[in-house]
Symmetry: D2
Subunit: 361 residues, 4 copies
């Protein structure tokens, strides 16, 4: 068994909390430090997530020899500098999206990590989103035929932290903040082919008082293969986050709504491997589920039972519960035979529930 990876976080805002929670769920990771320049932030963050070390100066964090990997959730304009410093100390680096402010920065980051032989990882979570992973499998399996149009859209009413509104820190508006998701999504879905051209329509429709950045954008990307992709981004859409994707192909179409719809609504002329338990056919319309076992809770259930054994806890569901269910089932079969409501508690010597229905007494 390999040794656990010791991880440190730089940043203490919204996304850094998600990083911390995610790392806590990772059996192979150990979160040991956090750095954030605003006095008190790192301390509160460390306390909340039970992290042993915290710093206002990230240089001290990088100086810890036991740290293997850092996760950068600081504002966009800090990404380059932190990455260069981390590479210099031999740490692997995860950088939250977007990578940095400009192409020169990007080149320097890539180059210095390569020279330092550390990994530079770009945190585009849509490549790991279970429903989109399933969507890519559908496309890759040929379920939809050759793709013609891809769509991805992210919409909400504006970012969490102040630095997003300041283009000097963020580098741009909604195109920079959320368009970056769509762009990598398209590249990943298609196997990262070359892009031929880009067209964009942008506007600052609602938040003129808050930002010089764009708060609404439509972006059309042509891939060299002829596939067209449409990104639709908004910082002015109220009523909750919206995150959706579509893949249109010559032999099918699939709609994936990340937050509202569970299954991927799919039309496939030729059918595909598997939609859902007992689906019958996958030709025509079907509803492709993703991570079926997880959605039923089987792994969670087993983990709970293991925890009960390991730590001598009371299980959520016990033999007594199983018995109570069985009593109701017996009463149900009794009722089905008699046409009457059956009162509980219900005693019976029947050998099995169905005996009561068929009046085998």
């Amino acid at each position: 068994m390999s040794k656990k990876i010791k991880v440190a976080i730089i940043g203490s805002q919204f996304i850094s909390h998600i990083h911390a929670l995610s790392l806590k769920r990772c059996a192979e990771a150990e979160l040991i430090a956090v750095a954030s320049p605003t006095p008190g932030n790192a301390q509160r963050f460390a306390s909340k997530h039970n992290i042993p070390h915290h710093f206002t100066d990230y240089a001290k964090l990088l100086a810890m020899p036991e740290v293997d990997m850092i996760v950068v959730g600081a504002p966009n304009d800090c990404h380059c500098r932190i990455t260069l410093d981390a590479a210099a100390t031999g740490k692997h680096v995860v950088v939250e999206k977007p990578l940095c402010l400009n192409l020169a920065e990007a080149d320097r980051m890539i180059d210095s990590c390569r020279r330092a032989k550390v990994k530079l990882m770009y945190a585009e979570e849509l490549c790991f989103t279970p429903k989109y992973v399933r969507l890519k499998q559908l496309l890759d399996s040929g379920a939809l035929g050759a793709p013609t149009l891809l769509k991805q859209s992210e919409k909400h009413d504006g970012p969490h932290a102040a630095h997003f509104w300041d283009v000097n820190r963020s580098g741009g508006g909604v195109t920079m903040d959320m368009g970056c998701h769509a762009i990598e999504f398209f590249r990943w879905m298609l196997g990262r082919p070359p892009i031929k051209s880009v067209y964009a329509q942008m506007g600052t429709h609602v938040h003129q008082n808050k930002t010089e950045g764009d708060d609404n954008a439509l972006i059309i990307i042509e891939f060299a293969s002829g596939v067209v992709a449409l990104a639709e981004e908004s910082w002015t859409k109220i009523g909750g986050m919206d995150d959706r994707a579509e893949v249109h192909g010559a032999k099918g179409v699939a709609y994936a709504d990340l937050l509202r719809g569970n299954a991927i609504e799919t039309y496939s002329a030729d059918g595909y491997d598997y939609a859902v338990e007992k689906a019958g056919s996958t030709k025509g319309w079907s509803f492709a589920i993703y991570e079926e076992e997880w959605n039923y809770g089987f792994p969670q259930e087993m983990a709970h039972f293991v925890d009960c054994v390991q730590n001598d806890k009371q299980p959520l569901v016990t033999g007594e519960d199983g018995r109570a269910v069985l009593e109701v089932i017996f009463a149900a079969y009794e009722s089905a035979r008699t046409g009457r409501k059956v009162k509980l508690p219900f005693k019976t010597d029947a050998k099995k529930p169905s005996d009561l229905w068929k009046q085998i007494t």
Copy 2:
């Protein structure tokens, strides 16, 4: 750190595969043995899931002193005997639903586990189903007011294995096989209050040639509190598995469709804690998401990056990808200013993307 729990599986059919896959995802469990009486089944199962020990006789499995806990996925008529034997050897027992064939068996199982001081755990996965867990939180938080009616339904076109159709082995039809889910779901949702009465309508509508059991059932349960619950079960519903629940309360209603549906479609007169990122209001209709971070893939992403560092693998998303995204973003801002399609590759010395939009050159 506690020691890992060593687990063995008894059974090799559909549900046992789910048990194995789920245990593999559990960092604290180690799956070390499987038993199944049909020659070859245990071996194939062990090989598929990479389990070191396999037996046709489960007594040999129980004889392994290192096994802490067993998971019983054998047919219903074996549940009692296996549980008694397991308790006698001091193993903790997880029993797949339904608990056993009759109440006398249930009493013996509970009693023998209690005497042997081993845990008897009843594997009702709906109590762990993430969407239903969120539904229970909504109800418990008062979002829906006092409950009036609960509904739960499971429907497909019939069970996987032959023994389900034989009431001598299964104990009953769809009420036994799937009604048991609904019954425990209702009890769990309401905090396991006493049940006052049960009424059931059953029929064998389609599968008369295959079974003496019921293939369709409606079950009405009255709780002592006055709450009514309706279970609707079918083994004749084609077009794929259906698993849904509803909670109707005096101040709201919530619909949870496990496989197709929305994030929980919720109406709350008074509102509640949290629906989804930037939801605005939770009064009236809202769409309550569950396990939001997991559904975005954040934990999966971090686990992947940790794995790359631990095992020196190439990350799925790299610095080069981040740079490619940034190039498109620059091109997008250039396009937004010029009103033209911008060809890639696109070179620019701009310090940040939004500079190209506002023509700060």
Copy 3:
């Protein structure tokens, strides 16, 4: 051409307004009188709907020889008396649901209309609901195979007028008020076969202070054919009216949500006649539209244009609008060729839009 039918309304509450609006849309009907006992109600009603005659005493309305047909929207306890009086004066009678308070009344109403040779029509609108009419066609066409289970449900937060809450006037609670819809729906869907048995679960869960009637009910009906039907009714469901039906058959299933979903979500093992324009296949899942032309607005469009000609009005959409659209289309093809945003107004001598794309100038 037959002469128009002269119609009178008895009642002035919620449902009578719907009767009036509906009759106004019926080219063959002429609404000429209304009666309501509360002083002022009939007058206001007549004024609102532009009805020439109004009465507080419905006997005067019945005395009008020119009235051919009356529509009774008065409270349930008046249905029998009014019907008997109407029959005595030779008027055809439409009675709003439910028919009356008891079976003796029903027999008298049927008998007296038969003797008077007037039609007694029972206003169950679900038999005319376009989406349910389409649902019945699906069932009748064999798309779903032999039916096993029918469901219909109506739920809201309680009735409009005070007399519904008084069981002496209404005859019962939500079962009487809304269960009657489901019962006739089931009979109609199945071709009105005999019913074998009825089971009901009722409660007064929320409105105990307002009524002695039931405010929630589950009703299970067994037809002689073995088909089971489940009615689910509520006067306590907040968040807007809910009206849904399901038909489960051995070879398919169809879900019709009257208010929220447009198409009927249908699974058919064998397929059926027509789902929607260019549907491809109707095997497996499909989305059966109803009244497709009306939903597109074609009849409304033609009626508007006819009205413009008949009454010399300005059309909603003119030749100038058609020209403006064409200008945009030319600009679009120009843009597609040049990769640039095209400013309007746009002048071109191109013979047709696509010439600009293919640069045939």
Copy 4:
């Protein structure tokens, strides 16, 4: 009462059948003639729709002095010539979309109709589509705040008739054929303000063998007011017609799926007039129904009953049906009291159903 308008149809393909069926539903129109050049087509069309006159030469149709109005469903390249000829004979003209092939034709059509003092009406049915009419009302009422982005999309797998594929007859591909719907939809929704610019992305992705026209298109329109509109059109989308619209505003958003979707799914920060019966609140998310009475079938029901009286037909729902319903209701209340299934036929002297529940005998 004005005299009925006498209407003639020119064309005999898909859309002309819709014209005929729509005119048949219009009480004020009388369809008296049809013309189509292909031998036999007009005759078959006339026979199918019961139209007294049919011609291969439309000049003969225009020569009929009694014709008030013509509806042109012929291919796009005939629109101009027919309109000029019709204007010369003093007929009002309805022209199916798109108006004609080029702007010079459009100008001549508008001019000649104006001089002849006949109406030139442009048949954009989306301005009459009930769900979109409701969507416009939502926007106009301020429910969504100031609009930022409008979307409309129409997608199917290609046109019905051969002339659509020939750009010499049609003038263009999917942009011409279906983009024209979106363009007028946007203009109408916004009150027809000036358009500032147009950008389009087009491609022939799938039907290269069939057409020189575009089979997929994205069109971005900027209005002078700053509102952006996005049209998305496809002739390659399989699985059935798709017709959807969205309105995004600073204070809300509304989604209207014409064929599948919800009653308009609406988020409104401030609320609006009416969503659906008993909706409670219209702030936040709500589901705005359209043509509620029609969707319930009330006008259809009344028209049926009037027809029964006028033509002495047997009503679909009779007093006997009302009685049968009542019998079930009595049985239901009896069952609710006794907790037993009640067999039918059920006799009772109870004065009203609820008496049986409360055991007032």
